[in-house]
């Protein structure tokens, strides 16, 4: 049967299991929207293409499926770039379909023409410009394959308008070509046996997990492994939820705003086993002193993550799950009881550090942002999908909410994209209409994609936005206080912050406000109960800072636990 390009695109998307698309129409993709109109696809119309990209990302992070985003050429395409780069840094599987001017016009500076494959080359896993309709079905197949396989990532397909209008006989796509097939890495036996021997000998081992555990769906194997050999676990920001936050072996996040005990443990450990971690500078602090007493075993699917920032002793290039399954199997034949008992001194030592530097804050006259998160955690019993914006709100969410399950914490870790959380929460709510989805935001970052309130209201998506409103771009202000002698250049936005309650109402959402500590619980209760989208404005202590803090470039043991106190 002869089909046009738009019909082939939709059929190819359906073949990949896609039923939901986040997008915004425009001249170059009118034909696709015309076909969408006649189809059964759920198209979520956002209010800005950046929102579409983040929503597709949130959909992908929460569901594990590939997020799909459809936008027009030129500005429609460039507006997605921040969202694409966000997904790329955090290895999120996404397919972005952009319209393009007709092929004869490419290169002529036509209206709404931009070289989007050129622009996104460094921030996509791969991208395609489809020049002929006969390439279309296969290109979509390859794009999804690339997005999902190996270390996942975003893939962009640029579709010229004439290709969408051309007709051809539809042929089912063939399997992806060899060229796009990443090697499947299975772990070598040698390093695994060596790792088991090290585990037996180690007195002070630590497990460090990252986003790879979540992408690799390795949580069950990880829990089994950690308990089998009784090793305390810490995580990067991206790994939160990969290991239960309520497990006795859990030490909390490490790094710049990690817990005192996790940072002390990693600095003192004699064996560090990392799973799906790429050693970001926010995690390691000063490289020369990072886990400097330890033999380091690194399990990662991406060979370029090995020895990039931290030199490791035993690299294991493998997907996390396969490596953990094999480690667990090897450990079955060994004296586990003896291994476990040998850890008692180490676990006691970590307990002492936990007593010395617990995660805490002081209550005051004003609402403490940490208290809002703790109350939210208590009231939801942790049963929520939590998205965050970027900055203090993100760090407090990471520190004071305990994530027990993978795919429940959606945050822009690598790129640090303000404005990510709200559209990501919308994407997650589309994937899970019946779950509680919360965006923890600041008064600065929520304004970066506030227009998506219209999307939430339009589709009756009951996303709950918790704004920790301190009147500042708080994390930047914190750095100005600590490193720029309190010169708060361009970070005080309190005077210009809109009335969030009225703003919510203007969009047709519910707006709530709490200004005193006593109002926190009642406001959250009312907001969480409401069946539609809610903006909750918590006016918090203006100059509260995120602690512990390791100054950029300092050693992880060199932490400030609160204002003026170093340890």
């Amino acid at each position: 049967m002869e089909l046009n390009g738009s019909q082939i695109l939709l059929r190819a998307l359906m073949n990949e299991g896609v039923d939901t698309i986040f997008g915004y129409p425009g001249g170059s993709i009118l034909d696709i929207h015309d076909e969408l109109f006649k189809s059964s696809f759920k198209h979520i119309l956002v209010r800005h293409e950046q929102g579409a990209a983040h929503a597709a990302d949130g959909y992908a992070r929460s569901s594990g499926k590939v997020g799909v985003c459809l936008v027009t050429s030129g500005p429609g395409a460039t507006n997605t770039v921040t969202g694409i780069a966000t997904a790329y840094m955090d290895s999120i599987p996404m397919v972005i379909v952009t319209g393009q001017v007709p092929t004869p016009f490419i290169g002529t500076d036509a209206f709404q023409e931009v070289d989007i494959t050129g622009i996104t080359r460094p921030c996509t896993k791969h991208n395609f410009l489809v020049r002929h309709i006969d390439e279309l079905a296969n290109t979509v197949r390859e794009a999804f394959y690339i997005a999902r396989s190996g270390r996942p990532g975003p893939v962009l397909i640029d579709l010229p308008k004439d290709v969408m209008r051309a007709m051809t006989e539809y042929r089912e796509p063939v399997s992806p070509s060899q060229g796009s097939a990443e090697p499947v890495y299975l772990p070598d036996a040698g390093p695994l046996t060596e790792t088991v021997n090290l585990i037996k000998k180690a007195k002070k081992p630590v497990l460090l997990i990252g986003g790879g555990v979540i992408h690799g769906r390795a949580t069950a194997e990880l829990i089994e492994f950690a308990h089998k050999v009784n090793i305390p676990v810490t995580s990067t920001l991206m790994g939160l939820g990969g290991f239960p936050g309520t497990d006795p072996l859990w030490m909390g996040m490490l790094g710049m705003h990690g817990t005192y005990y996790a940072n002390m443990a990693i600095s003192d450990c004699d064996l560090l086993i990392t799973v799906g971690v790429r050693f970001s500078d926010r995690v390691t602090g000063r490289l020369a002193t990072f886990a400097s007493n330890a033999t380091i075993v690194q399990i990662d699917i991406d060979a370029t993550s090995i020895n990039k920032n931290v030199l490791v002793h035993i690299p294991i290039v493998s997907d996390c799950r396969s490596a953990l399954i094999q480690l667990n199997a090897l450990l079955d034949r060994n004296g586990l009881e003896k291994i476990r008992e040998g850890r008692e001194d180490w676990i006691t030592r970590i307990g002492e550090w936990r007593t010395e530097g617990p995660m805490s804050y002081c209550q005051g006259e004003a609402i403490k942002p940490q208290c809002v998160i703790e109350t939210l955690y208590r009231m939801t019993k942790g049963d929520a999908i939590v998205a965050t914006e970027v900055g203090q709100n993100q760090m407090w969410a990471a520190q004071f909410f305990r994530f027990d399950k993978p795919n429940t914490f959606l945050t822009s870790g690598g790129l640090g994209t303000m404005g990510y959380g709200f559209p990501a929460a919308i994407g997650a709510q589309v994937a899970f209409p019946d779950r509680l989805v919360v965006d923890i935001a600041g008064d600065g970052s929520i304004q970066m994609n506030i227009q998506e309130l219209a999307t939430a209201v339009n589709y009756k998506l009951p996303v709950k936005v918790v704004i920790l409103n301190n009147g500042y771009l708080g994390m930047v202000r914190q750095w100005q206080e600590l490193f720029y002698e309190k010169r708060y250049a361009n970070t005080g936005i309190g005077g210009q912050v809109p009335d969030f309650v009225k703003l919510a109402e203007a969009y047709g959402a519910l707006g709530l406000r709490a200004v005193k500590p006593g109002e926190v619980e009642a406001t959250l209760a009312k907001g969480l109960e409401h069946p539609g989208p809610v903006l909750m404005d918590f006016v918090v202590e203006a100059e509260e800072k995120v602690f512990p803090m390791v100054n950029p470039g300092a050693s992880l043991t060199d932490m400030k636990l609160s204002s003026g106190i170093g340890m």
Binding site: G118, R121, A303, N307
Partner: protein, 154 residues
């Protein structure tokens, strides 16, 4: 850490943007391309690209792995100098005295591609060191222009 010259041989799909992806990987990650040469292989759908770059051994492992990650890169091989044959070519325009030029041609073993009353175009093929030596020699004549290729390796 020793900074050295390294040669990487790539087999890639012969697509319009493949060179941009490779060049972008180098520039985006702060690696440097000293010279480059590219042409199709026996299979016209596949191109062989030879890149000479400078860096430490550890950087080379990163470069190689980063290149292998590109979807259109089929193979990336770090060529060891002892096990491979490598050649560059340079075309040189020299003017001046015919006798001196012909002496150079004899000594350097180069070919005369073009002879005009006031200048000659010569071709020198050889290892990087041989090309460097030839250019040093030819500079003592009236060298007007040159065009030097990237390295090819097998």
């Amino acid at each position: 850490m020793d900074v050295q010259e390294h040669t990487i041989s790539l087999l890639v799909h012969n697509k319009p943007d493949v060179l941009a992806r490779i060049a972008g990987t180098f520039s985006g990650r702060g690696y440097n391309i000293e010279n480059i040469s590219a042409n199709v292989t026996m299979n016209p759908k596949i191109t062989k690209i030879t890149i000479v770059t400078v860096g430490t051994q550890a950087t080379m492992v990163q470069v190689e792995n980063q290149l292998k990650k590109l979807v259109d890169v089929i193979q990336a091989t770090h060529m060891k100098s002892r096990e491979s044959v490598r050649r560059e070519m340079v075309l040189v325009t020299v003017g001046g005295d015919r006798e001196k030029v012909m002496k150079a041609v004899g000594e350097l073993g180069c070919r005369v591609l073009k002879e005009k009353p006031d200048h000659f175009v010569l071709e020198v093929t050889g290892s990087k060191e041989e090309i460097d030596q030839a250019l040093t020699y030819l500079e003592t004549l009236d060298m007007k222009d040159m065009s030097r290729s990237g390295m090819v390796v097998l």
